[in-house]
Amino acid sequence: MIKKFLMTCTTAAFAAGAALALAMAAEAKTFRYAFQGDLNALDPMSLNETFTLGALGNVMEGLTKRDKDLKIIPGLAERWEVVSPTTWRFYLRKGVKFQNGEDFTADDVLFTFDRAKMDGSQVRSRFPADLKYAKLDDHTVEFTLASPNPILHYEWDTLYIFSKKWAESVGATRPQSATAQSLAAWALTANGTGPFRVESHQPGVRTVFKPHTGWWGKPEHNLTEVIFTTIKSDATRVAALLSGEIDMMDPVPVQDVARIQGNATTAVLTGPELRTIFLNMDQMRDELLYSSVKGKNPFKDARVRKAFYQAIDIEAIKARVMRGMSAPSSILISPILFSRASEIKRFPYNVDDAKKLLTEAGYPNGFEVTLDCPNDRYVNDEAICQAVAAMMARINVKVTLNAMPKAQYFEKAGQPKKFDSSFNLLGWTPGSFDSFNVIASLAACRNADGRGTVHAGALFNYGGYCNPKVDELATAIVREGDATKRDAMILEAFKTIHEEVGLIPLHQQALAWGVSKSVTIAQRADNQILLYWVTKQ
């Protein structure tokens, strides 16, 4: 009798234990994801790179945030007002706690802005160097500008706020500099106000995140743990997703999209990306380098540039090279970031017109030119260049392709080797998500050394295109506070570049994330992987 009773008890206890274990298993939601690049130091000021900023965006927060459609929404500042065109006031959210339990106050904001200006910081361009800021009270900060700037706060979603007390206690008061003698231990840790905290971090191997229970917002995710791993090899990343070892991975190689879609448990999430791919033509040198033309530079003639433009069959590049994963573009910015983008149309693909233009310009038999191209930077970059070279052959222009790894490419075609290239391919995402950055970086006048004549950022104008009218428009765009007038000027600048074919825009590449069907995730066009929008079944 007693024996039987004991047995019943044991069975019951066992069943209860099993049920509990099951319940816990059901609750534990571990989200595993992989990216092709590493997550290195966790200081958001020492490497300005999308993936790192995205990963840290789960842990730390800026005064503003961006929603799923990249619209600016309140972050650590619950609201802000423009008191006068040169005075902005930010009202900070109250009751926010850092992950180590400290309170968030205006002092942390001032400290962060000071830190962002120091040597070694890669985020100095997030705000004008002469911006002044002062604390009005514990939860109000006032910013004073030297000249009006309607997009002052556009990049503040990734200007993550540090805890002043924490930084001082661990010695993180300045960003890790590129030439420091040793790595500070804090650079592998993080302390923010965000919805997740870093549980452990081994650079290049594995990073574990856990939800921050004291987060001020209402969690939209249902995760209890997140494990990030780098998987460099494309084939392995695909295999890991197919075998269910990971729940999400980025990027999906274009050729594997069908395979992942065809698998019962996985899908590919695609969407437009912000990056625009385009071609530069050297319009600066008096004699074109690496070309058969001697003593002059055919690219100085707008007819030659237009001929090149019209010789490119952009739909064929989309269909064959990009397998549908691109959106042909007529301007240098994504339509997501500039509402009037559709008012400019691409010049049509037309080989006869292109030949006619070349003949008018005095090159009826074409000429030879070398196309420099990176082969590990953008989606199918080398293949795009091969296609362009083949298309140019139809108008008798013999293009020699010179593809190389990005580290060499940016050295040769860019400023370090004084733009040693006559024809090249580049991609650009404006850090500020705004057209001014595009115009000033890619199409503003520069000298042979790369110094901008008017706009200091003209370093990436690899072709040396120059029209003083565009420079003037850019200067006016910075100062204009009225959105409609501003957009009109932006459109005019893009139109000017378009009409004289200063550069040849190709397309915006598409994002492709491989996801398990048990996971829902929001894909944002800037390719940040944000864990607080992930739910797992």
Binding site: P203, V205, T229, S233, A235, T236, Q415
Partner: protein, 325 residues
């Protein structure tokens, strides 16, 4: 003997210096590290300042002298990308690569020797032909392809082994090991097979040809004539005598296993030194590349040095040459 050792030591030093010089010349062509460090919005002034800080504007000879001088103090500087001391980074990754290379070597020997013996004894059996075909695959297919094939069979289709990573690791006296956990051992299988396959085929073919040779010798015939059982003839007398060259080859191949681990580590995302090196190449991270190349050169030079010394011990003729000069 001492003179021989000293001469070999000096030769080893010259090799190291030559590797350093070659590496340094190569680094002039890998591209611009600065554009890999700064943000795209960094101004020209910031870029130029960073170049100067990193010492990239100094003459090549000055840079080289500085590099050698620091390397003598085991200081390879700071990774441009991670901003961490390179020596520490490589030390962190060292156990992973060594464990992988060791497992691959064990696999190569444990599978290669029996296969070699079998194909040597039963020259014409169908199983021998199967073994030889497998070894042909191992020798002719590139490593990355074998790795991807194995991943697709064992991870994606069968779902029995992990496709990437090292599993759970345990830290013992600063050495991280995957040998002590179940997931660590499972994760080790595919990379070790991939890396060791080439060496395994080498061992198979070597043992086979040595066996064929030895089995023809007089003492084996006499042994058979005496009526000794096949087992004793084949394994005690024949196999033992084939092992001398096999051991030499394996010793020399350990260096190759560590160096070739680059590809296997990339395919399996194995967190070892090779993966670190590949990443460094893509990012033009010169300090990491330099330190890795020096380490690999050092391993090769050391192994060769030891093998040379062993030869002198084993082969009396070498000792005479050593003394004579």
């Amino acid at each position: 003997m001492l003179a021989f050792t000293i001469r070999r030591f000096i030769e080893a030093l010259i090799v190291m210096l030559a590797v350093a010089a070659l590496a340094f010349v190569l680094f002039r062509f890998i591209g611009d590290p600065v554009s890999q460090i700064v943000s795209q919005d960094a101004t020209l002034a910031e870029r130029l300042a960073l170049r100067a800080q990193l010492g990239l504007d100094d003459p090549v000879l000055v840079q080289f002298a500085r590099f050698v001088w620091k390397a003598l103090h085991l200081d390879f500087g700071l990774s441009y990308q991670l901003k961490q001391p390179v020596v520490g980074m490589i030390a962190d990754r060292f156990p992973a690569t060594m464990e992988l290379a060791f497992a691959a070597a064990v696999f190569a020997i444990a599978v290669g020797i029996p296969m070699g013996v079998y194909t040597g004894i039963h020259r014409d059996s169908w199983l021998s032909k199967v073994f030889l075909s497998i070894s042909l695959i191992g020798i002719s297919l590139p490593t990355f392809l074998i790795g991807i094939l194995l991943i697709y069979i064992f991870a994606v289709t069968l779902g029995v082994l992990p496709s990437f990573g090292r599993g759970q690791v345990v830290k013992i006296w600063g050495w991280t090991t995957g040998y002590l956990t179940w997931s660590g051992l499972k994760a080790l299988i595919l990379p070790a097979v991939t890396l060791g396959l080439f060496q395994m085929t080498l061992v198979t073919r070597l043992v086979r040809s040595e066996m064929l040779e030895v089995l023809r010798t007089d003492y084996i015939r006499f042994a058979r004539a005496r009526g000794l059982p096949d087992r004793i003839v084949n394994f005690r007398h024949a196999l033992k005598n084939t092992l001398v060259p096999v051991i030499t080859i394996i010793g020399l191949q350990i260096g190759a296993l560590i160096a070739f681990a680059i590809i296997t580590e990339t395919v399996f995302q194995w967190p070892g030194m090779g993966l670190l090196f590949i990443t460094a190449v893509q990012q033009a991270d010169v300090p990491v590349m330099a330190a890795y190349l020096m380490l690999v050169a050092f391993l090769f030079v050391t192994i060769n040095f030891i093998v040379d010394l062993l030869y002198v011990r084993v082969d009396p003729r070498m000792r005479v040459i050593g003394r004579g000069t």
